[in-house]
Symmetry: none
Subunit: 272 residues, 2 copies
DNA sequence: CCAATAATTTCATTAAATGATATGGAACAC
DNA sequence: GTGTTCCATATCATTTAATGAAATTATTGG
């Protein structure tokens, strides 16, 4: 991407009165980081790319190098530095998925009127971290903190969408399911291809759900969410229709976790 | 009414005192990031911590929020934002050694059940680029992005295995070690001959590790990896036994970097 | 060795950052 | 409810800190 616009003042010119951004130097510094993130780049190219003089570019870049945000190798140019690794790591720890996801879950619950769950993979089980009850008076027998089987819940299946078939088998064998292995694997393949998963009354009778994975900055699945309701409200057609909403919300949360299209999907680490 | 005066004169922070840098705003912005990295913090506390007025702090923090480096939640304050997750990940990929080495590190961590680190030489320090926690509940107090002494860590010693004795002395003198110079040099000679290095509770009490160098296409040491664990799990016998596994993995990574037996070892360039 | 390109430093000019003060807003107490 | 308080945001005259043209110093490659 390019967008090396003059930050806040971008639209100011037209109106004659704009946002006096007030931190030009900081913004330019961050622009430098962005430019370098696209790939190693030397000073002349960098200054050209940002439409800044070499002096200014050099001063900014040097400041960033001094702080470890960039590294500089003569004749090769600037690249991202260790400080960013460190901050990325810290941000990862500070980031509490539940608190971040909350508003999205509520939005989804409001839109669908059904119960929404958030969960992560914990060994061979799905651990439910949050729950937003829907408006319907259906009893969804789940509680935050509870563990459920992977193979027979939509949320569980969404969590392992990126695993390979050998791993799928292990999850299936760990706790089984009401459907046969062959059929189950067949469905998993379809789910993995589409990026979402269903639960067709496999775990609890009369309860169906639609689930989608949430990804972190590395593209790895870090959590999943699901919309559950009584089978009477969950026709095949409605489930199909929900997939868009569910994956959209999942994607929005992923973005807040630092995920971007660029990161895509990524194979999970073996075992837990 | 509260006084917004700048408190004490120079509180040089970690700056090398007289920094005629010329990018005050950028530096201050990065200071804000550092402060927030310590934990979520609201504006008044933040401005106090940085000895800046609320106006300035607010302007800087807002700029960072606008760019996704921070997130702001009213009443809670600022915390690190998704942009840092993304940049951390990109940085991780840009340094291609980590991304190449990742699977190998995971394999080693799984096989040994201990914590595995990857690091490179950065001046007179070892810079940790990646970490794969082991299965044991031992606390290894290290973080990605951190720097550790060369002379007293296994990883550090592995990084300088090819340097000459004069260089070894410099590294030793730079930060010392818990053992005397003579003994230390003697051990280094043995390590260099064998192609791996140990850390016998020199850096951190009760922590021992086995490390080996990773070589690039030219035969030069470009990185090193180490397996660390609590001393109770690291008998002399086990350490000896681990050397094979560790050097095998290091060699495998070296091969992926273009190294071959033919390239062998190669003296490093004289340092800065 | 010299030419060419990249990196760094210098310094007068001016635009951009600063911060005291004012305003707006949400939580809490009463 | 209404008052109180503390936090967040907007304003704007002052001055300081950022800017960039040009000069200087390293590096590289022929």
């Amino acid at each position: 991407m390019e967008s090396n616009r003059k930050i806040g003042a971008a639209d100011a010119e037209d109106e004659g009165k704009g946002t006096p951004s007030g931190s030009q130097t900081l913004f330019r510094g961050l622009d430098v980081i962005d430019a370098v993130a696209e790939g190693a780049i030397a000073l002349p190219a960098l200054s050209e790319r940002l439409s800044l003089t070499k002096s200014t570019t050099h001063r900014l870049a040097s400041a960033l190098v001094e702080r470890g945000y960039l590294t500089f190798v003569a004749r090769e140019g600037y690249s991202l530095g260790p400080k960013l690794l460190e901050l990325g790591w810290v941000a990862h720890q500070q980031m509490h998925i539940p608190s971040l996801a909350r508003p999205h879950l509520e939005q989804l619950a409001a839109a669908t009127e059904d119960t929404v769950h958030l969960g992560i993979l914990d060994g061979f089980q799905a651990l439910y971290l949050d729950k937003v009850p829907g408006r319907r008076r259906v009893v969804i027998g789940s509680r935050v903190g509870e563990r459920h089987p992977i193979a027979s819940t939509g949320l569980g299946k969404a969590l392992i969408l990126d695993h390979d078939e050998a791993a799928w088998r292990e999850f299936y064998e760990a706790q089984g399911s009401s459907v046969g292995l062959a059929v189950w694997l067949e469905r998993m393949r379809a789910y993995a291809a589409k990026g979402y998963a269903f639960d067709l009354e496999e775990n609890e009778d009369q309860i169906r759900c639609v689930a989608a994975p949430i990804r972190g900055a590395s593209g790895e699945i870090v959590a999943a969410l699901s919309v559950s309701s009584a089978a009477q409200y969950m026709s095949d057609a409605r489930m199909e229709g929900l997939t868009g909403q569910v994956t959209d919300i999942a994607t929005a949360i992923s973005r807040e976790l630092g995920w971007s299209e660029r990161a895509g999907r990524r194979r999970p680490r073996r075992k837990t």
